[in-house]
Amino acid sequence: MRALLIRDLSLAFRAGGGFGLGLAFFLIVTVLVPFSVGPQSALLASIAPGVLWLGALLACLLSLDRLLALDFEDGTLDLLATAPLPLEAAMTVKALAHWITTGLPLVLAAPVLGVLLNLPEQGYFWLVVSLALGTPALSVIGAFGAALTVGIKRGGLLMSLIVLPLYVPTLIFGAEAARRGAQDMDPSTPLLMLAGITAGVVALMPFASAAVLRVNLR
């Protein structure tokens, strides 16, 4: 498992691995928002948690294509399927690697970009907490979408269509927790729901991902 994780991470960090892709996209979205909605700081402050969550979600979605497609093309997935490691564990590791290369940098970058969007002071902590709790769910659900469409050529659009509704609950609770935190309200209810979703999908989703991947590798 550790070998697979290290392999995926080093592939992502080396040139052409697309490590910075999600982060750059996140940066672009956040920087462009003030140009499109206007520079009023009150308005920016009120939409900042939602924009940051949306940017993180889209950045995750953007990098899902690379999660399995390259490994499918060069046959690595076939080897993984016949390896002694169960495919469920391999999918968990792949989702974890995706989270470390995409989700974690987003979580760390979010407070910096929050400054650009005039996020209220009390909001930073809850923004980071909600993103840290929610982005693993995005990676795991995304891994399912990638496994589902891995056999389809140019399946990126289809994968986005399938993953989009699956992301809705995570986005709602995550953005709601960040918004309540920014407005000095108690964010514990949506935060607990978000944690519940993440725990649930991390526990169950790898089984679904592995099942569809087995079908695709048949």
Partner: protein, 242 residues
């Protein structure tokens, strides 16, 4: 004679050929009676005027939109567990009907909402959940279309249907939490307390029965088409090999 004997396509087709004419006639009759009764022989609502009459299309289609997905869930499970091809094809056949029902519910809702709420669309929990359901249907149908091998497609869409069902329910609660709505609460249920008035209730029941029968007839018809399509493909492949 158990239910499973109809997993045999020939038996299924024989039965559905016998049942279908009755289903078409009954659903046509129910729809005619329900809609004409509803549109022309019920009084206007005290506050909503004649706009209330769109209820005879809106409520049955919304009901069927959800039940079609539920049917797909059950048939997908049967496919995954017992590997009956008819079951997978029935799920495939039901999806386009379901998406049309969802669309009818959304459009009639918008037409009804415009004079009543003053807006075509609001991010109300019920409306939002239906939009999400619509996206699930689109993803499901697109996945069926994108994969060539029929068994692979059946497997993948079945798993998507299972996962999607869980997330559809989750989204329903999430949007409830997220926004309080304009939409009224339940107005149809078996305990009489919260029902609409009887003058609207009975034609509505007839219209719902008509929609249910129409759905059954359409799904049987489309499943038959899918079975024959697959058989034709098999025959063509055999001829090519010979």
């Amino acid at each position: 004679m158990s239910l499973w004997s109809y997993a045999n396509p020939v038996k299924f087709l024989t039965l559905s050929a016998k049942v279908q004419p009755a289903l078409w006639v009954l659903s046509g009759a129910c729809l005619c009676i329900g809609l004409i009764w509803g549109f022309f022989f019920t009084p206007d609502d005290f506050r909503q005027g004649s706009t209330v009459k769109i209820i005879y299309l809106h409520v049955p289609s919304a009901l069927m939109a959800i039940n079609a997905w539920f049917m797909m869930l059950v048939t997908s499970l049967i496919w995954l567990i017992r590997r009956h091809h008819v079951s997978a094809l029935a799920a495939k056949a039901a999806a386009p009907v379901g998406v049309v029902m969802t669309l009818i519910a959304l459009v009639t809702g918008a037409i009804w909402g415009q004079p009543m709420w003053g807006t075509w669309w609001a991010w109300d929990p019920r409306l939002t959940s239906f939009l999400i359901l619509f996206l699930f249907y689109l993803g499901y149908i697109a996945l069926w279309e994108a994969i060539e091998d029929p068994d692979t497609a059946a497997d993948l869409t079945s798993v998507l249907c299972l996962v999607g069902s869980v997330f559809a329910v989750l989204s329903r609660y999430a949007v409830n939490f997220w926004n309080q709505g304009l939409h009224q609460g339940a107005s149809l249920s078996l305990d009489k307390e919260e029902n609409v008035a009887d003058v609207f209730y009975f034609p509505l029941l007839v219209a719902i029965a008509g929609f249910v029968l129409l759905f059954l007839a359409l799904v049987l018809y489309r499943t038959g088409t899918e079975i024959r399509l697959r058989r034709a493909r098999a025959l063509m492949a055999r001829e090519q090999r010979a």
